[in-house]
């Protein structure tokens, strides 16, 4: 029941995505043909071979760490095996601008920063909030999306907001910003820190936890899978998502910022937002205009 509904959604999402990327594996180098990532081959800028971007171009492939289980940002379509979502579209746009194929690998909250440090991934697009500690470890692009922290509970729960979480079991991902946020806003909540949000979904469905707290869009993805769940209370936090880049690689940062700015300016961002997020939340999204420093401030004031 649960599974068939989820498959249905994944399938419909898949149909949408096919329009964008053809039917080969998730590489989608043909993404150049999609309107999302339209970049005439002639406009591909060549980078010197001793830079990261040059090396990526030489390899013909950029490895991008994304979530595999966080609809609507990065989710593996069980039918086609492709990963799809808003983060994936951002990654395809970057790859297209470089004239290379994107290769998507799974990066969970816990390993994405090590992946950048050890070179497993060239770029991280995995619903990663820009915050102070992370800015010390890696570089961030300007925010490409701003999520809001919310609380998700079963439909029959009497929890109405973060204030009711005292003494309750609350699930969130290990290594996510919510661990700290919840300790601050609901110090008496008992946190269950798991590796991925699909585990939180399982735990809230089987009653092992009373609530899940994370970004509204991730929670919306859970409601898409199980509409007996509901969002409650006001927004806890603002979470600007940025692309993660290896520390010190400012050329890459500038390049990615350029790609994102292009998407925001030419209306592609709004189109992708509607396709992947607006459709479910019923809200029209505005592309974020703030930079990394302002994003850090925003998060600090959460």
């Amino acid at each position: 029941m649960q599974i068939s509904r989820w498959l249905g959604i994944a399938l419909s999402a898949g149909v949408l995505a096919v329009a964008g990327c053809g039917d080969e594996d998730d590489s989608g180098g043909s993404g150049a043909s999609s309107d999302a990532t339209a970049a005439p081959a002639a406009s591909v800028e060549k980078f010197p071979a001793d830079t990261t971007l040059g090396k990526i171009q030489e390899k013909g492939e950029i490895t991008i760490g994304v979530k595999f289980d966080v609809p609507p940002f990065g989710v593996k379509n069980p039918q086609s095996g492709d990963v799809e979502g808003f983060d994936i579209e951002m990654g395809k746009a970057v790859a297209a601008k470089l004239g290379v194929k994107p290769k998507f690998i799974e990066a969970i909250s816990d390993n994405r920063i090590p992946f950048l440090e050890d070179g497993t991934a060239d770029l991280i697009l995995s619903t990663m909030t820009i915050n102070e500690e992370r800015v010390e470890q890696i570089e961030f692009s300007d925010p490409y999306f701003i999520a809001r922290g919310r609380v998700l509970v079963p439909g029959d729960s009497d929890i109405t907001g973060v204030a009711d979480l005292a003494g309750k079991n609350v699930c969130t991902a290990l290594g996510s910003t919510y661990e700290a946020n919840l300790k601050k806003q609901a110090p008496e909540a008992k946190l269950k820190l798991v590796d991925s949000y699909s585990e939180c979904l399982e735990l809230v469905q089987n009653g092992a936890v009373d609530a899940v707290s994370t970004d509204d869009v991730i929670l919306t993805g859970m409601i898409i899978q199980d509409d007996t769940l509901k969002l409650v209370g006001d927004e806890l936090t603002q979470e600007p998502y940025g692309a993660g880049i290896k520390k010190g690689d400012t050329q890459m940062v500038e390049f990615v910022n350029g790609v994102f700015k292009g998407l925001k300016d030419d209306g592609t961002w709004a189109k992708l937002h509607e396709q992947w997020i607006g459709k479910y939340t019923g809200e029209k999204g505005e592309p974020p205009t703030i930079g990394v420093d302002e994003a850090v401030e925003l998060v600090k004031n959460n």
């Binding site: 500690e133 290990l174 290594g175 661990e179 798991v194 092992a208």
Partner: protein, 217 residues
């Protein structure tokens, strides 16, 4: 190096004690259930032997992680209101019990058949033969394998924190510290030291027991 440990002492020490509790409870379950299953396996009744055999095959052949998912996700979905502690120690204990049963069985079989026949012909009953002749010798033979199993169990306990159960054990706490500090090498070094303290203690206990009960052959 040391500052990660001192700055996050509360996380490390609470994780350490959670791991100790998991290990002690699971060890108790493993020994009790393992002994019962071993008794079934060596019982002079065919169908009892078979029950013991089925237990061993089931619990030895399912990965621990799968047992954890069955106990915590599966049973809860079937409206069994099991908590993470029971699911975690139960899974680890029952899993290890299968190995304990096999170790005990092989220990019993290591006692020569001639001794049993001699004991019976001298007028000891079957129960007395087991208690006075077989088990004391079997126990000495299995000290070392049981020690290895206990050490394996301590290490297996780390899976509980990583799984859906998310118990705040030593590895879990280390990963929380790592996620906060990004001092990966230092954090996991101290986690490793924590596990080493536990396994080292077991090794010492085993060595002591072996020395005390050594059979001179």
């Amino acid at each position: 190096m040391l500052d990660v440990l001192t700055d996050h002492w509360s996380e490390f020490s609470s994780g350490f004690w959670v791991t100790v509790r998991i290990v002690v409870v699971s060890f108790g379950i493993a020994m009790v259930v393992g002994t019962l299953v071993a008794a079934l396996r060596i019982a002079p009744v065919k169908w009892l032997q078979r029950i013991g055999g089925v237990y061993v095959e089931i619990f030895r052949n399912i990965p621990l992680l799968v047992l954890l998912f069955i106990s915590y996700a599966g049973l809860r979905r079937a409206d069994v209101n099991i908590n993470a502690w029971v699911a975690g120690t139960g899974s680890l204990g029952l899993y290890t019990a299968a190995y304990v049963a096999e170790a005990l069985r092989s220990g019993v079989f290591s006692v020569g058949k001639g001794q049993i026949e001699a004991s019976l012909s001298l007028g000891f009953s079957y129960a007395e033969t087991l208690r006075r002749i077989v088990l004391p010798q079997a126990f000495r033979t299995v000290i070392s394998p049981l020690g290895s199993l206990t050490i394996a169990m301590i290490k297996n306990s780390a899976i509980i924190g990583v799984s859906l159960l998310a118990l705040p054990d030593l590895l879990k706490q280390a990963r929380i510290v790592q996620a906060r500090t990004f001092q990966t090498d230092e954090t996991f070094f101290w986690a490793a030291v924590g596990y080493l303290i536990l396994t080292g203690t077991v090794t010492l206990i085993i060595r002591n027991l072996e020395r005390r009960f050594a059979i001179r052959r």
